[in-house]
Structure formats: C-alpha cells, structure tokens
Symmetry: C2
Subunit: 222 residues, 2 copies
DNA sequence: CCGTACTGGATAGCACTGGTATCCATAAGG
DNA sequence: CCTTATGGATACCAGTGCTATCCAGTACGG
C-alpha cells in the first residue's frame, strides 16, 4: 500500500507519468529506492512530496526552478530554525523586477519600516522589492501615499502575527520549515483571494441599495 | 513635447521599440494618430498607457493577454461604476487551477463567507478560487483550519476597507476604474511584500534575544 | 533635391518554460 | 515465455513574450 511503482504514484497524485519523470530529472522529487537495474519503488514520502510540488507550482505560482531551490534549502543542513527560515524566505521571488526604482522609492521603503519599528536586514530582498512595487505604482500613474502605505502596513501586522502563531503551533519536528514555506507561499494566494471576497462585500455595502442587499441575504438564507 | 514618434516614446518609457510594436500588435497600446501613410504620432496618453502596461505585467505579474482583456473592459461601455468594476475584477486571474477542489473545499469556502456575513455572488470565480486554495493547502499536507481561516478573513476585512476608501478618494473621473485595477493588482504584490517584511519583524521578535535586537536597533538609529 | 536615417507595419524567428513522446534494454508477472 | 510495464535518456512540442528582419514610404541635414 505505501510502496508503489510509478504508475500507482501517478494514479494517486493525479500527475501524468511523463511529468513525474520530468520532476525526477529536475530534482524536485527524489529518485525511488532502486530495487534492480531498471526498477525502483516509491513510498508515501514520494507521494506527499509530489503533491507538495504540485500545490506550490499550481496554487502558489512558483516556477519549477524556484521549487527546487527552496526545497533544497529546506532539506539542507540548518543552523537553527530562525536563521534557516530566513534563508529559505530569501529564495522566494517577490516581484519580476524589470523596473528600476528611484532612490526616493528606496528611501520611502526604508522610512516605512522605520516608522513601524520593524526589525529589518538592510540588504534583504523584500526591502528592494518594496521599492520596486512603489516604483511600479508611481509609473502606473497611481502612486501610493504614505498614509495608505501606513494603513496597509498596520493591517499586515495582523497577518504576520497569525502566520507566526501558525508556525509555533506546528509539532516540533522535521517539517516545520516545509510548513513555513507552504503557509507563506500558499498563504499569499489565500490572502489575495480572501481580499477579493472582502472587497466584493465592502463594495456591495457601499454601493448597493439596502433592499437589494436584503433580497440577496434572504435568497441566501432561504 | 507631448507629441512624439516611436523613438521618443521608447526612450521615455524605457521600453524597446520592438516591444512597443509588439504591444501595438497585441492591442495593449492604441495606435498613434496617423499623419501619413507610414507616420503616426503618439501623445502623453500613449506614454502613460505604456507605463501602465509595464507595471501591470512586471510588478503585477499579469500576462499580456490578461492586460488586454482587462484594459478592454476598462475602456468599455459601462453601466454604472459598481457593476462595471465587478466585471473587470472577474477578469483578474486568481489561481492557475489544475487542482480540482473536493465538495468539502467548496463547502468550507461558502461557510466562511456565510460566517463573516459577506455579501457574495454564488457563481463568482473568487469563491471557486478559495476552494482551490483550500484544496491546495490540503494536498500539500498542510490544511488550513477554520480557526486560522477566520483569523485571516478578519484581518483581510481591514484591507478591503482601505481599498475602498482609496477608491472613494479618487477624483470622480474617467479613470476610477483604471485606478481600481491598478490598486487591486499592484496592491496584491504590495501586500505580499509588506507581509514578508512584517513576518521578518515578528519572527525576529519571537526568536532573537533581546540584546541582539537592541544591538540592531542601535545600529539602525546610530 | 538628394542621400541617409528613421518610420509604421508585417512577418519570421528565438529563448525559455513546462511539459510530452519516443525509444531502449531490462524486469515483472500471468 | 511472451506480453506488459519500468526506469532512464533523449528528442520533441506548444505557449509566451519578446526580438530581428524586411519593406515601402517619409523626414530632414547638407
């Protein structure tokens, strides 16, 4: 049951055999245990790893190359959870640059972090990414005001607290790091989707007439 | 100064001429005003449109095809801001599916919306997207609990409020819709980046010794 | 008013990503 | 023992986002 060959692995994960072979080639999935010149057996860990890879690429939007480097790092040596987590997080792409921020954008990024008293590493890619995003808004003709930025920053602190609580809640074991990656990467998508749903509600509350809302509420409850 | 040919447009937007021609072909950028059989002039609106397209693709991560359909919709007829905004938002991709959620995932998605009293459209893609994200977490071996989901949902309401405030703050004019798109699309990236920065802070607070934090604080202030 | 440079526009090609398809010698299994 | 499946290597393929080439026609410095 927990030992299988490639056909069953494919069947159970819902991933075609050629794709599995591709992931093996690319090192996203460890090779099965060789039981002969051309025979290998895969276990439950291969199945879960395969599902993990799929979730990270399809839902999380990570590229195959990113998944490889991130999971390599996760399985790496490790000199303490906090620092290892930091290393892994640096691997996650934030923006597909191609926009060069101005000094002012970088300055605003640093100022924001300072205003909120956030701990930071001066050379962290997230800081540069923030500058890029600010530049993007500006270039798009819709700059972000410091006031809006501060409101977002305040709201985002709630997320970070939830995120870390979730991490602390994980059973002290081997895959805390993997959990952190999944919760961060898929969490980005989750937050995006939830934000859209909340926008719909907020927009409806502000723009629809009361009777229209009531009708819809009744329709839902009825 | 505000009338130019392609070379100047390219220069000022920092986008190569062949790329501009490509965007023209793909309909992301309207053709310039023809002044002869093979001569056209571009204005300030082309420049800003070009920068907008670039920001949406590079920072927002939208595909060229998505940018086209979204901007087409923005420039379309329109029967009231609220409903038109709704139409545009439906065009924005949320997840690159490929994972089929189970009924239970869809059920949890609906329950979440109900628990929070959110207004919703039963067939809205965001609802299905939420189910997909829940399925992704589950398949990745790290399911999201309802408790965590509720915490996220609560936090996300703050975003929606900020988002709508920002929209209301826009000058009642032609590009409210464009503003909504930019603020939503680039806002996703902005929130992702801010979340990462806040995570770093929260993680440091929980995992670094007090003296290490103080040293770093002094380094920053000094 | 002429030669060179540049234009808009069309068509073809290219690098990269994420797979598929094919082939092969070998093992499994009824 | 003969069909089928396997692991592994190599080749191929479709989609995306450009980039290069070509062309007839215009601009413009000298």
């Amino acid at each position: 049951m927990s030992v299988m060959r490639i056909a069953e692995l494919s069947e159970r994960a819902g991933v075609p055999i050629p794709t599995i072979k591709y992931y093996l080639r690319e090192g996203l999935l460890p090779r099965g245990e060789a039981t002969g010149r051309n025979q290998a057996s895969y276990g439950a860990e291969h199945l879960s790893r395969l599902r993990l890879v799929r979730a990270l690429t399809t839902v999380g939007g990570l590229s195959v190359a990113t998944v490889r480097t991130v999971l390599d790092e996760v399985g790496g040596p490790g000199v303490g959870l906090h620092s290892q987590l930091g290393l892994v997080m640096r691997r996650l792409p934030l923006v597909g640059a191609d926009i060069e921020p101005q000094d002012r954008d970088r300055e605003r990024a640093r100022e924001l972090v300072a205003r909120h008293g956030w701990f930071f590493y001066p050379d962290h890619p997230a800081l540069e990414a923030l500058a890029v995003v600010l530049a993007g808004h500006r270039e798009a003709g819709h700059p972000v005001s410091d006031a809006d930025l501060d409101r977002y920053a305040g709201a985002v602190e709630a997320f970070a607290e939830i995120d870390l609580d979730r991490l602390d809640g994980l059973p002290e074991g081997e895959d805390v790091l993997e959990g952190a990656v999944v919760k961060t990467v898929l969490g980005d998508t989750l937050i995006t989707v939830l934000r859209r749903l909340a926008q719909i509600d907020e927009s409806a509350q502000r723009n629809l007439g009361e009777d229209e809302r009531r009708a819809r509420r009744e329709m839902r409850e009825g």
